[in-house]
Each structure stands twice: as structure tokens, then as C-alpha cells.
Subunit: 209 residues, 4 copies
């Protein structure tokens, strides 16, 4: 079910209509094109053509090309948080929460390769500076809070939570990237193994739990 989440989410952005709005079409098209061609290989004229709108129309919904990127970033970040913590409400063991979150996020990336590639391009482009200051603190915090809570409750090794976050997040995207890029076709149990690696690495005492 590739890219399902994105379509679903996008559809919810416009409550009144069943047909996807122009704005959604533009966002979705841009994301797809970026996957294949990169930011700069994706001219407005191409977005317009593939989205079935006139080039000028894009400028009714976005002040400029960068704004499309920024908005895409925001949407995807929210989807990532949404995917990771989808069952967070249920009272599960911490370890289970970690495994579920891990697998959810990897699966999100594998099902939405455009999102993975976008996020990685974004994070290694001059855009990061524009966006990091801004809008997605909420979703980022959720991520950090989870690890902080794990340390506070004694499940995880004590350390700066950013260290764990960097390690875990880098690991997830890297694995997903191997898969998406076709370098290796990870099966579900493979993904579990990597989750195990990370859990064994970060849990409080190597011998227990």
C-alpha cells in the first residue's frame, strides 16, 4: 500500500470535499516528483503538468516554490509522529512501546518511500535552517519525551536523551533507506532484528528485561 498514509492524511486536510483539492494534488505531486528527481530536478512547470493545474495556479496556494517544500516537511513530520505513536494510548510495556514505535516508523517509511527520501533530502539541504526553528516542535517533543521517560523510569541507560534520539532515528532511516533504495530487501523479521539491536543497546542493564 505505498504512499497510502500520505493520500489519507492529505484527504483529511480538506474536510468538505471528497475529491482531492488542488492544494493536495500539488503537494502530493511535488512529493512524488522529488522522490525521482530531487528538489531541483522538479520544476514548477512539471509539478503543474503532473498535478493537472496551470503553473500560475500553484501560486494561489503557495507564495513560492520553497513554501511547498516547507509545508511538505511539516505534513510529513506530523505523519511520522502519528505513525510512531499510533497505539500509544494503550497501556503497554515500555519495551513493547519501543518495538511498536520502531516498527511503525520503519513501515511508514517503507510504505511511503517518497516521504523517507524527502525527509533525508530536506535534512541535508539548506532548508533545515529555515524549518528547524519553526513549526514542528510538538512532534519532535513527543519523540524526545519518550526517551526521557524511559530513562527516568530506569528502562534505558542514563544519558543525554538527544544521543539516544540521534542513534535510534539515524538507525531507522538508514535501514529504511537500504530497503527503499533496493540495496537490500528486508523482511519483517530483519527489521525486528535491528530493533533488537537498538533495544539491547539502549536498555538499562544488558542482562535483564
Amino acid at each position: 500500500m505505498p504512499e497510502q498514509d500520505l493520500v489519507y492524511l492529505a484527504a483529511r486536510m480538506n474536510v468538505q470535499s471528497d475529491t482531492p483539492s488542488k492544494k493536495e494534488a500539488i503537494l502530493k505531486t511535488t512529493l512524488d516528483l522529488i522522490k525521482d528527481n530531487g528538489f531541483h530536478g522538479t520544476p514548477i512547470s512539471l509539478i503543474a503538468k503532473k498535478a493537472g493545474v496551470a503553473a500560475g495556479t500553484i501560486y494561489h496556494y503557495f507564495p513560492n516554490k520553497d513554501a511547498i517544500i516547507i509545508e511538505l516537511h511539516k505534513v510529513i513530520k506530523e505523519q511520522m509522529a502519528s505513525a510512531m505513536f499510533s497505539e500509544a494510548g494503550t497501556k503497554k510495556e515500555y519495551k513493547q512501546q519501543f518495538f511498536d514505535g520502531w516498527m511503525n516508523l520503519v513501515r511508514y517509511f517503507i510504505n511511503n518511500p517518497s516521504a523517507l527520501i524527502f525527509i533525508q533530502q530536506f535534512n541535508s539541504s539548506p532548508f533545515v535552517k529555515l524549518a528547524s526553528a519553526g513549526d514542528t516542535k510538538a512532534s519532535v517533543n513527543k519523540f524526545y519525551e519518550f526517551f526521557q521517560a524511559g530513562m527516568d523510569k530506569g528502562y534505558l541507560k542514563q544519558m543525554e536523551y538527544k544521543l539516544i534520539a540521534a542513534a535510534v532515528f539515524g538507525c531507522i532511516t538508514s535501514v529504511a533507506n537500504y530497503h527503499v533504495g533496493g540495496r537490500y530487501n528486508f523482511k519483517n523479521e530483519d527489521l525486528c532484528k535491528v530493533a533488537n539491536i537498538m533495544w539491547d543497546g539502549i536498555k538499562y542493564r544488558s542482562a535483564k528485561v
Copy 2:
């Protein structure tokens, strides 16, 4: 000594002269500019100006702009391998080799932020397709061989070596990126902690070694 390695390596590429050749100047300049402006924010004219050559001259050394990127990628990949396994000749314990390699690579990235940013941009750009086929098998293999050997000798958990490679490499770049991007200023002991996480995660039995 930031960016030292690159200069050094570059210098060795041209055996005959003590002064850096034009080709080296072009490569070095391009790398620096990409750090600040990204691939597409780095026009040939700017490279020419900063490198002190005419735009046309660049086309004596490279058939087109993409070729500069491809070559830079090759050079940096070699440097990374070189950095990781610099003391590999000495007979050390496997665990020590892992820690040394880990720290060496992180330090390489922290000392050569341009290289880190370049590699990440490269890996999330349409260029990957052009390059992965080609030239860097040797250095990549070294990386893989190390993990395969670890599994064969019983130091590491048994699994597809690409899984470990993806996890470890993704983790390293992510941590280095946090540091380089200024999101967190990791001290040496912080980096050790992350190495520990990974080692605890991948070693054969959590309780031993």
C-alpha cells in the same frame, strides 16, 4: 584541525607537485561551497571564482558538473574507509577495533563537516543511482568484511551483515550530524556512549566479552 584530511588526501592525488593542482583546488572548493549552499546553490561560475580558475578550465578536468560530484563522492568514500581502518594493521581485540573504527569515523566527520554534509546530500539525491553501481566497491567491502568477520568469529549476533552495516553507519552519521548541525555539542565521552550502545546491541551475547 578541520578539513585537514581532505587537503592532505587531495594533495596526494597529484604526486608530481607540492602545490595543490587545479583539479584539487576545484574539488576542494566545490566541497566547501556545497556545505554552505548545497549542490544546486553552487554554480560552476562560483566554483571557478573561488578556486581561482576560469570557468572553462573546469571543463578540462571534468566533462561536466555532475562529474565533479561523482569524483568528490569517490574521494570522500575512500577517506572514510581510510579513517575508520587507519590502525587496523595492529592486532587488537575485535571489540577494540569496533570502538576505534567507530570513533575514528565520527571524528572524521566532525573534523570534516563538509564531507559529512556532502555524503548525506549525495545519498539522498538522484546521484546515488549513478554512483552506487560504480567505483567504490573496495572501500565498501572493507566495511562489510569487518562485520562479516565479527559474525564468523562469534563476536556479533548472526544476521545479514547489511543489517548491521545499515544500523551502525546510519547511527554514526546521525550522531555526527547532530553535532555538526549545532543541535548538540557532543563531548568525547558522549560519542563513546553511543559506541557502547551499538556495541551492546550487536555483540553476540549481551553478558559476555
Copy 3:
């Protein structure tokens, strides 16, 4: 009372309503915007926004953008004639009529800088060709008749009346422009001095009245 005249005149264009009609609002807004931004710095979308109407509405009142310009030109030309000869009915000496007309027109421009700037832009733009043929003969004639009458009655030097008209009109706009453009802040007596220059220049015999 800057720009008062225009509002007043505009209001009279629509006899039925006390509130300014949409057409008037469009004309007035366009004139104001042109003062600050020039013809081509004044897009229809901006006129619409500032005039409080939809862009499409403008096309109910004018066939295209040029037509707004043409109509503005006509309105302002009429205002200029109106301003110059406002007290013409009273029987005054010819010299006094000249001075009054002169001062009236300069004051009109100083009180309606938008009109001055518009007229000058118009006269030095490709629009002149479109307009001169057309609609404003009446007001132009009044201007010419005044000078012709002055020559016929022996008050002015004999010459092609267009020469005098060009000289006097060019002089007035130039002086008003210095003032409006902020290059010099002319007092009332200054303006009188320039009127005197022109009168001394054009009167029949230098020694007499």
C-alpha cells in the same frame, strides 16, 4: 486639501448615488497607486484589493487595464481645465486671468500630486498616441483659445499659439514637479515669481501691460 478635487469630481460622475460608485473607487485607487508605483507597478489585482472589489468586477466597468488609464487621463484633463478657468466667467483683465489661471493650475497639481505625476507619466508613455486623437479636444481648445484671444487682442506677442501653450504648460508642470518631488518647497510668492517670468516673456511689449 490634497486630492480633494478628484474625489469631488469623481463623485459627480455618478449622479444617482451619494456614496462613491465602484467605478469611481477603481479610478481613484488606480490613480493613487500609480503615483507610488507607476503604471506597470500597479497590477489589476492590487487595484482590486485596495478598491475593495474583486478583480473580475473591474472588467465590468472597463474593457481592459488600458481603458482605466485612458479614462483617468480624460478625467484629469477635464479637472485641469476646470481648475484653470474656474473664475473665468468674471470679467477680469487679461493679465489677471493669466495669473489666476496659472496659479490655479499649479495649485491643482500641488494639491493633487497624483494627477501631476499621472499626466507626466501619461504624456511620456506610448499611451499618448492612443489618447491625443480622441476625447479631450474640448478642454484642450479652451486652453488654446485663451492664448489665441490674447494675441488677437494685442496682449501677447504674435506667434503660433501652440508655442506659447507648450512653453507655459511645460513651465507649470515642471515647477509643480520640483515641488511635488520634494526637490524644492516653493512658497506662494515663489510661484508668483515664475508666473511673472512667463508673463513678462509672453506679453506684447515688454514695457507696457
Copy 4:
């Protein structure tokens, strides 16, 4: 001999070559096109075509379109000063200097209608603000000095010299404009008559010389 002066002047800008340089061709072409189409009716693409260069080439000589306008303005201002005071070195009576300067400038405009139209468009466009601060003080001063000197020596009526300057300059351009615009075909003696008007207007005592 239309536009002769401009060609001549332009040729002198590039001392080494007999053939007009690209830069000169761009300037000259732009001036011609502006006469017929106005600033905004003169796209870069048209300038390029008529000047026989590629559009991109224009950007080797000027940073942007505005810069062409600014430079044209500077060149024309210098030509105007040059035209007016061409025989200023010879010791002539003040009145004669005035007449000569007057006639020279009118003739310059009549022979270079593009320059006249350009100057008028420029002076009634948002460009004025950019340029008035800047570069042409020298030529402007010459103009003012001449009138100031006339007052100091008792040849002219005492008043703020800007008043006289505004009156005289406005008069000249207006007259030339009538001629160039085809509204009236002034003969040489006509132009003399207007010069006489201005002289009679500004000279110290109406009865004397």
C-alpha cells in the same frame, strides 16, 4: 541627423575599437525601443534580438534590467550638459550664452528624440528616486551655476535659482516634445521665439538687455 550624438558619444565610450561594442549596442538598442514601447514594453528578449546578442549576454554587461536604465540616464544627462555648454569656452555675452544653450539643448532633443522621451519617462517614473541621489551632480551643477551667475552679475531677476531652472528646463522639454510628438513642426525661428519668451521673462529689467 537623428540620434547622431548618441551614436557618437557611445562610440567614444570604447576607445580601442572602431566597431561598436556589445555594451554600446545594448544601450543604443534599449534607448530606441523605449522610445516606441516604453520601459515596460521593452523586454530583455527584444533588446537582445534587436541588439544582435543573446539575452544572457546582456547580463554580462549589466547586473539587471534597471541598471541599463540607470546607465542610459547617466549617459544622456552628460550628453545634455555637453550639448548645452558646447561653446561655453568662448567669451560671449551672457544673453548670447543663454540663447546658444537654449537652442543647443532643444536641437539635441529634436535630433535625439529617443533621449527626450527617455528623460521624460525617467523623470516621471519610480526610477527618479534611485538616480537623483547619485551620479550626475556635475552636469546638474553646471546648469544651476549658469543661472546663479546670471543673477549674481545682474543679468537675471533675483530669485531662487531652482525656480528659473525649473521654468527654463520645463519649457525646453515641453517645446521639444510638441515637435517630436508631431503635434507641431517647429521651425528654427519658432524655437528662437520661445527662447525670446524665456529671456524676456527672466532678464533683470524688462526694458533693457
